[in-house]
Amino acid sequence: MIAEFGLAALWLAGALAALQLLAGVLALTMRDAEGAAPIAALVRPSAVVQGVLATCSFGILVLLFGETDLSVKLVAENSHSEKPLIFKLAGAWGNHEGSMLMWVTIMSLAGGLIALIERRLPERTLIATLAAQAFVGLGFYAFLLFSSNPFERLDPPAQEGLGLNPLLQDIGLAFHPPTLYFGYVGLSIAFSFAVGALLTRQVTPDFARAMRPWVLGAWIFLTLGITAGSYWAYYELGWGGWWFWDPVENASLMPWLAATALLHSASVLAARDALRAWTIMLGVVAFSMSMIGTFLVRSGILTSVHTFAVDPERGAFILVLLAIYIGGALTLFALRAGTVAEGERFAITSREGALVVNNVALSAILAIVLLGTLYPLLTEAFGVKVSVGPPYFNPVSAIFFIPMLVVLAAGPLLRWRRDSLRRVRIELAMLAAVTLAALAAVAASTAIGLLPLLGMALAIGLALASFMPLKGRSLRRVPLATWGMAVAHFGVAVALFGMACESAFTQERLLAARMGETAAVGPWKIKLEGVEPVAGPNWTALEARLSASYQGGAPVEIAPQSRSFWAPPQQTSEAALLTRWNGQLYAVIGEEGEDGRWQLRLWWKPFVTMIWYGGLLIALGGLLALVGRVSADLRRRHVRARVAVRRGEAQ
């Protein structure tokens, strides 16, 4: 019965999206302003109720997974009664239908939130925005209801569920996809804002200020999602790598790059009323990248280590949706962007100029990643199969990444509109000196590759540069948003440092160890104490007991496992990690050899954790900026309200 409630809520939510779209279109097109007013008044409430209904529907699906209702097909196919509760719940979105429902839910929630709290946009633009949001939502409702119904019943009910991919039975799964989805789908707001502004031709600084917190929110989630995903792949896949340029990873990186560019260009639009058309374009591109990425991964068109269900019919459905939404938005852009008046002009040597360089570089990296991801597809169309890997992505993206870092260091020091490098020459000289000194010091002390070397030097220079905009200011008066920028930029430096160290200094040992044998890797001595079978809730494992001692200190016990799940049968490798301030020990147990020795893989990865700390710092910077912007907004709203009240009293 409860599954039917979920389905009914979903249908109702879809119907409200239709109403929201219809009312929005009517309100915008009617000439009779008085007649349009009651229709326009329908738009906001429909958005709110739609959000509530979709959330109910998703909540019901989670509930069904929680109690393992095997009369629901999706539950029977993806869950198992013996799974731990947290993985049962997470199973609700660990499959195609559930994740699409989550997608729609987040999208309608976002629409509902805009309807509830957005007051800055002109009312017509807001209605156009909500109509656009409903239009995009409708397609996904249709997709769910007609081709991916998550509430489909199974008659007779299954005796037992088919389980869940054990690679995905990890706490990472519980939080990783939802986080990423908040990011992906949050960008739909930027898309709808852009479409709304194009429809009413109101691309103003106020529009950018209204859009910015939403983009920031989505961007924070994306940043966290990518960071978590990278760490998850690192410890769960057991390969010791943290980024594989896999299509799924690229699918999350591309919207992030676009959203990062969008954040910066929106700042220019908000502060200086420039880059109007470009900001609109990025708003469209960011969400398009979310959709394209999800489509490429979900349709199974690109093969990837992550591939989910492959279904050409569903692929075709999503492709049609993509063609309508992205194609429609780009057509609208082509028709309207020319009529959006050109914004303010500025000199190249200025804050805007630096941000333009940042935008160009980010867009170029985005293009490189997109091209590399699509290239196998392109050549396959001509009957040639290729796979594109790090030898392409690393050096080619570095070509743009490195200049971008230079601008990232210098840009925040410049003034808006017009500035001269002479004014900041001392700061620039200092940064250059620090960077060059770091470069020389690293190059002299160790022999490492060019990219890691440049990376380390730039990271050190950048770490200094990120806090330079605060120089000479009263720290307590610096707006929170500026702190946010400094922290986020510092996060980039930290992550870059981690990446460079990992690639330059990682040490690896592979050995077939006898019981009691000791091996050294980096500053660690690791002794194989024993191998024992252990059992978990739905798996058994061989667990190696290793005692690891750091620089001859007291030994610490670690226990990497080779796990065998029985539903479905699959082997996974659970790495054991030991973290010290200056790096991480990574141990994996392999198979037993015929002579009774055990394969052990050991890595010492200096400063590898900096990669993810950097990611967290970037997200934290975003959060500071978001809090700063929103609280400033609220203060302004409060002041305005008071002024209005006083005026009323005076009259």
Binding site: I301, G315, G327, G338, L374, E380, A381, G383, K385, S387
Partner: protein, 177 residues
């Protein structure tokens, strides 16, 4: 008003993308393509060793009378790591496997083999993808069945999954008859 054609460019690119993807969706490239190289002789090549503990690879090694598997791989390729257990199984099944490492560095190859096992009797370093392209392979990993006279009998594109092992051993046996 002057029409700004550049504004249409994003739409045009997107249309190209849609066309490309639609082609892939509705005419999925056949996964079991018959390679144009089947039945042809291997081109002449002589590759230096890609790893210190195995000899390099030249055409004559593959014309020595015994059918062999020729695996095209690279240490930077994730599917290549994924197929390592299957290669080990093929080796246990009696296959003599030789390899070409594409665009790789000796230390990376050594690390890769140390990590995932070394089923190869010979490994040639193909730094410029010349041999790879010469024998009709365009990606990694790929595996060829070569009969004892140096003629390509079968081409397997993509990673070897567990279900392919028996088929490859059969092809290898057929090539020996």
């Amino acid at each position: 008003m002057r029409v700004r054609w550049s504004l249409w460019l994003p739409l045009l690119l997107f249309a190209g993308f849609c066309a490309l993807v639609a082609v892939q969706l509705f005419h999925p490239a056949e996964r079991e393509v018959e390679s144009a190289m089947i039945g042809k002789e291997l081109p002449q090549f002589d590759l230096k060793p890609a790893s210190p503990d195995r000899p390099g690879l030249k055409t004559a090694d593959l014309q020595a009378g015994k059918p062999r598997l020729l695996n095209i791989f690279a240490s930077w390729c994730v599917p290549c790591a994924a197929e390592a257990p299957q290669l080990a199984e093929l080796e246990r099944g009696g296959a003599d496997i030789v390899a070409v490492a594409v665009r790789d560095r000796p230390e990376d190859v050594a690390a890769f083999l140390a990590r995932y096992g070394n089923p190869y009797s010979r490994i040639g370093a193909d730094d410029l993808s010349e041999v790879q392209l010469g024998i009709g392979s365009s990606g990694v990993p790929e595996t060829f069945v070569i009969d004892g006279k140096g003629v390509i009998r079968y081409q397997h594109i993509g990673d070897i999954r567990p279900e392919h092992v028996a088929m490859l051993l059969r092809k290898l046996q057929e090539a020996g008859q």
